[in-house]
């Protein structure tokens, strides 16, 4: 169609990926792109590249608070999902990879800093924030900021903490240089009372500390999870 333009994409699939991510395709075209996404790894790479290029535009869109009822629905669905996962049939993949991750750390604690990975936070102010804390791509925790500002951190993959060590949760507001401790983070998760920064750009960090938490008030061990509050 536009193949005769003087300036055009070398690969038509790259153009389709760009239009797919921009969102200008109509329903049949989107379906076609979806099908291509499943069977063409090259097209999938194009799509990821365009998502990386265009997603910063979303940050120019002012957030609108979703209704309170939404969070109850999400809570309910997550509880259902958690119960389904608890069925003793097959160990969920996240648990396995987390265990592998932690086993590795007991042998090479020094490698921990290198595996610093995403701690994803979905933010929909002023209602709850959701976060996925992962290491090396395998999730360990999901955190949500409740409407009253409390942060609820739940375990996803049942991370195993090496004996004699504890995880500690920290908050680092945008622009700040020293994180503030939110206390030891049990492997099952915890609830942090309101009063902590939750503005977009705020980072949440999890470090590996001696039992009982950092003795100095600042992280002494490697930061194993980190991520930024993000507005949706």
């Amino acid at each position: 169609m536009s193949g005769r333009l003087t300036q055009d994409f070398d690969d038509e699939r790259d153009a389709l990926a760009a239009e797919y991510v921009l969102g200008v395709l109509d329903a049949p075209e989107r379906d076609e792109a979806r099908r291509l996404l499943l069977r063409d790894p090259e097209f999938a790479r194009y799509v990821r590249a365009w998502e990386a290029r265009l997603s910063p535009m979303a940050d120019g869109i002012p957030p609108v608070a979703p209704p309170e009822s939404l969070w109850l629905r999400i809570e309910a669905s997550l509880d259902e999902a958690a119960q389904a996962q608890a069925a003793p049939v097959a160990a969920p993949a996240p648990a396995r990879s987390s265990a592998r991750f932690w086993r590795a750390t007991t042998f090479a604690a020094g490698a921990l800093a290198a595996s610093l990975a995403a701690f994803i936070v979905l933010r929909a102010p002023p209602a709850p924030v959701q976060a996925v804390l992962s290491a090396s791509g395998s999730p360990a925790f999901v955190a949500s900021v409740e409407s009253d500002g409390a942060i609820l951190v739940r375990a996803v993959g049942a991370p195993t903490v090496p004996a004699g060590r504890d995880l500690e949760l920290w908050v680092l507001p945008a622009g700040a240089t020293r994180p503030v401790s939110l206390g030891v983070l049990p492997s099952t998760g915890k609830q942090v009372p309101a009063g902590v920064a939750t503005a977009p750009g705020t980072q949440l960090l999890v470090s590996l500390e001696p039992a009982g938490g950092s003795p100095t008030g600042q992280p002494t061990g490697p930061v194993v999870y980190a991520g930024k509050l993000q507005s949706l």
């Binding site: 536009s2 333009l5 300036q7 055009d8 994409f9 153009a15 760009a18 239009e19 991510v21 921009l22 969102g23 200008v24 395709l25 109509d26 329903a27 989107r30 990821r48 998502e51 990386a52 290029r53 265009l54 997603s55 910063p56 535009m57 979303a58 940050d59 120019g60 869109i61 002012p62 957030p63 609108v64 979703p66 209704p67 009822s69 939404l70 629905r73 999400i74 669905s77 997550l78 999902a81 993949a93 996240p94 990975a117 995403a118 994803i120 979905l122 959701q130 996925v132 992962s134 090396s136 791509g137 999730p139 999901v142 996803v156 993959g157 945008a174 991520g227 930024k228 993000q230 949706l232």
Partner: protein, 149 residues
Amino acid sequence: MALRIVRDASLAADVLHDAFLSVWRNAAQFDPARGAASAWLTGIVRNRALDIARRASREVTGTELPETVDETPDALSDAVRTQEEAALHRCLGTLEEDRRGLIVMAFVGGLTHAEVAQRSGIPLGTVKSHIRRGLLALRSCLEALERGA
């Protein structure tokens, strides 16, 4: 973001509901080596919103949102925080004004080619080629910045 695309509060709630569950279920598949978590998340929410918007075909126009978004790159300036945002902002600024306007309008509103044509009063074929050439120029600019960095 979701509300701006689907234009209906309860549909937007559906989008966020599905997106959260999707994040929950697919977090294990997230591979940091493939790109930033923020782009991954934005992709999940936008895709869900676009699917729902296309399915609804906007039969219900819903509440027309107040145009609080200035659909120019300047709307981004307050949000420029990361290197990626700064790069995109800079490259959008290098595009010809009509192409830039159409791209930002499409992205922010989650509009199809046809909807962009209808709103802008520009013929569909022209909209398509403007957007394509704009995206191509954007890609070249971003790649050049990346190489230079």
